[in-house]
């Protein structure tokens, strides 16, 4: 992941629900109360680039950080709710990932990193393998003459997240170049 990675920056802009562990002066603007303080237990949606840091920094150095709470508690977002997890387990290929979140994998990985979430990793592994085979079918089967833009790509293609789109695009380019090469020879 790179500092200049456009998709990583966009993924980081997604908002995650957070609960504040402290009364914090001046931060009211985060929940639309400019000039006010934020109260302990206030639930606020924060972009991940901010939430991620506030969720690991906090406490009071004077007392010693042992057991000190971070500024905020990150709460599971809808995209990782049990409902979505069950949907993945029961039918990863029919799932509309794009509508759940267009940076689903990137965010899920960030989440797993933050919380050392082994179950999530298992689910992602399964989902990735199942869906990528379907992506490969599409990437390799589309025929040369059907390449005109705007053609119906099938409903599955509309359900891809950004990583999957990139995977599709690159695999498809490769298969297309190969077919072209074979036809020309």
């Amino acid at each position: 992941m790179s500092y200049y990675d456009i998709d990583d920056i966009l993924a980081d802009a997604n908002k995650f629900p957070c609960r504040f562990n402290y009364d914090i002066p001046g931060l009211g603007y985060l929940e639309g109360n400019i000039g006010k303080d934020i109260k302990i237990n206030a639930k606020v949606e924060l972009p991940l680039w901010l939430a991620r840091i506030l969720a690991i920094v906090g406490g009071d150095p004077g007392i010693g950080d042992e057991g000190a709470l971070p500024f905020v508690e990150l709460m599971a977002p809808d995209m990782l709710s049990p409902k979505v997890m069950n949907a993945i387990k029961s039918g990863p290929v029919t799932l509309d990932v794009h509508s759940i979140n267009s940076h689903f994998y990137a965010l899920a990985v960030k989440w797993a990193t933050l919380f050392n979430d082994r179950d999530l990793v298992q689910i992602l592994n399964y989902m990735l393998l199942e869906r990528s085979q379907e992506i490969n079918n599409f990437a390799s089967s589309i025929q040369l003459e059907k390449l005109g833009r705007g053609r119906d790509m099938g409903p599955f293609m509309l359900t891809l997240d950004e990583f999957e789109k990139k995977l599709y695009r690159e695999s498809h380019e490769s298969c297309k170049d190969m077919k072209k090469w074979i036809v020309q020879k």
Partner: protein, 291 residues
Amino acid sequence: MNIDIDDILADLDRDTTAIDSSINSHAANDTTILGSDGIDTDKFRHLPVLSAVGDFEKLMAHWRNERMSPELLPYPHLLMERTLRRVQEQLEHIECVSMGYLEDPSAENSTSESSNNALSNKLPLLCMEADLERLKFVLRSFLRCRLAKIDKYSLYLRQFNDEHVLLPLSELLSRQELEYHDRHSAIMLKLLNRAILRHMPPELQAVDDNDGSVKMVDEPEWNRFVFVYVNGPKAKQDSDPRLQVNEMGQQFYPVTIQELQEEAELTIGGIYVMRYNVVRDLILDDMVQLI
């Protein structure tokens, strides 16, 4: 043109195939030997013979590795020096030969049919042209690929001189590449400064700040997956102490995938998808080729 060194070299090459293995070992150190001069006629009889074709094969291997590796590999200084010199000589040679043809009145044509015939009569010349184009293509593609990586890791390479003592930047890059790196980073930084950084508070004006919430300097993706072919030692008699033999009698390199704490076997002749950092040393030693 006076004595044609390549002709003499080529003749020697035919008669002295026995020293081939010494060429290989010499070439393996290619990148770390600097400052040696081009071959001169008095000295070259004492040096191992480096044939154009042998060099081309090495160049192909460098090209393929460079194209597929996440990191910028060391510039093969001597190999490139020899190859560029040969390109220049061959250009002159071809010009010389084709001058001879131009003087030939039958070659003066502008209709396609007769120039077709004229070309057929010039088969060796045609072939030498094609040969040179092929060599130029590989050189061009190799260098363009390196420039792309120099750009990509521009800031990372800047820290190279102090951090990585193994290979200073001046050896990793050619003289021209060093200049390119300097000049391109300079104009790039100028752009970023003028467009953005100078409008930032002083503490946010750096482009190489790795202490923020996201590291600014990109390193090569060391554990990126690559396709590899395990060729093993070039000459059969050269054994590699790292090689082991499995129960099926096949020779293999035992490797460790650090991140997973997993062992794997790379059998000679096998094709694998492997993390780059696992096979890096074997690639640099020419025992494994990126494909």
